[in-house]
Symmetry: C2
Subunit: 219 residues, 2 copies
C-alpha cells in the first residue's frame, strides 16, 4: 500500500478504491496543554489512536443511521479502518454551539466564554498558514468549493449539530464545538476524515471531557 | 470641544451634534514600508493630513453625487472638517477588486497576487486583536450589526465599488481595494470616517500610487 499522507494524528494509505487510515497515539493540544479541539501535537499516549478510531466508528455510524453519508466503510483492526476515497475539499467546517477556543482568542473582549452561538465557520486547511478563517465568498472566488457545495456543507453541518446535540444532551453532556471535513465522490458530498475527541469538545458541568471520558460515553 | 478619540491618523472632537476630525500627518504602512492600505504608523510627512482631508472631501462628495449618503458636512480649514455624529459600527468593510495585502498574506499559496476578486469582507475594528476577519454570522451573533444592516452595508459597499471603479478607469487607473466604515443615524446607515489614500489602494501600470500621486488624481 502506498502512503499518501502523513498527518499529526494519522497516516493515510491508498488501497485500490479505498483509503486505509492508521490512527497514531499523538495527543493534540494548545500551548502544551491537552485540549480535544487543539491543533498541535503535545505528546503521545498509548491507546489514544485506537480510542480515536473507536470514537470515529461510533460517530460515523451514528451519522449514517441519521441519514448523513460519511466515507467510513469498516474497521480493519484496533488501529486501522477502511474509508471510501473521496476528493478532499481543503476546508475545515467548524460548528460552534458555544464560544470557545480560537473563537474566544480571535474576538477577545467581544464575546463571553461559552456564549451560545450555533453557527458555522469555514477555515482553510493549511497548517503553514494556521488554518485561517475564510469567508464563503472567498472560498468560491478561490475556486475551493462552489456556492452550491458551500450550501450543502452548511446544511449537513447543521444536521450533524442536531444529531450530536441530541446524543450528548441525553447523556447529560453539553457539546461545545466540532469540526467536519468534506470530500467529493461521484457528485456527492461525504463527511470525511474523523469525528472524535480530536475534532470536538464536550463539557460536563462546565468542565471539558478528556479523551478517556469521551470514550466512556460512546462505549 | 471635547476630544472623543485619539487615532493613528486623526483626532476626533465632539461639537454639539457634530464631530470635528483633525487630520494628522502620520504615515501608514506595513513592516516599515509606506503602503496606502497599511495599518501601522511608520512616520510623519508634513502636509499628509491636509492631503487626506482633501481626498476624503473629494470622494465623499463623489459618493454623495451618486446617491450614497456619508457623514461629511463641510471642511473647516486645511486640517479640520465637520461630520454628522453617527453611532459607529465597529467593523471595517473591505472591498477587494483584486487580491493584495492582508488577503495575500492570509491565503498565501492559494491565490496569485492581483487576481480578480470583486468581493466584500468584514473585519472587526479592534487594533489590539489585529482587526480580525469576521463572518457575517459572527457579526450578527455577537450583536455588532443586524442581518439587515449587514445586507445594507454589503449593498452600499458594492455600489461604492462601482462608483470608484468607473472614476479610476476613466483616468487609466486600476483600483485594488478600499475599506469603508458605517454608522447609524436616525435609522439610516451612513458611510463614515474617511475615504482617501489611507483607506484605498490604486495602481497604475502594475505599481501602487503614492499619497501624492493619488492627490494629483483628485485635484
Amino acid at each position: 500500500m502506498r502512503l499518501v499522507y502523513r498527518g499529526k494524528t494519522k497516516d493515510v494509505y491508498e488501497d485500490g478504491p479505498y483509503l486505509i487510515f492508521y490512527f497514531k497515539d499523538s495527543l493534540l493540544g494548545e500551548n502544551g496543554r491537552e485540549d480535544t479541539g487543539g491543533n498541535s501535537v503535545i505528546g503521545v499516549r498509548t491507546g489514544k489512536g485506537s480510542a480515536v478510531l473507536r470514537q470515529t466508528e461510533f460517530f460515523f455510524n451514528l451519522l449514517g443511521r441519521n441519514g448523513v453519508r460519511t466515507h467510513f466503510v469498516e474497521r480493519i483492526d484496533d488501529r486501522r479502518a477502511r474509508f471510501l476515497k473521496a476528493e478532499r475539499i481543503p476546508l475545515e467546517v467548524v460548528y460552534r454551539f458555544k464560544a470557545y477556543g480560537s473563537f474566544l482568542r480571535r474576538y477577545r473582549g467581544w464575546v463571553e466564554p461559552l456564549r451560545e452561538l450555533r453557527m458555522v465557520e469555514f477555515t482553510l486547511k493549511d497548517d503553514s498558514l494556521g488554518d485561517p478563517l475564510i469567508t464563503e465568498e472567498a472560498v468560491s472566488r478561490l475556486g475551493i468549493a462552489s456556492e452550491e457545495e458551500l450550501e450543502r456543507m452548511k446544511e449537513t453541518t447543521r444536521l450533524v449539530a442536531g444529531i450530536l446535540r441530541e446524543f450528548f444532551l441525553e447523556k447529560g453532556l453539553d457539546p461545545v464545538d466540532f469540526k467536519l471535513e468534506f470530500g467529493r465522490l461521484n457528485g456527492e458530498l461525504l463527511v470525511i476524515d474523523e469525528l472524535s475527541g480530536d475534532t470536538m469538545r464536550v463539557m460536563k458541568e462546565g468542565r471539558l471531557l478528556t479523551q478517556e471520558e469521551l470514550l466512556g460515553v460512546v462505549e
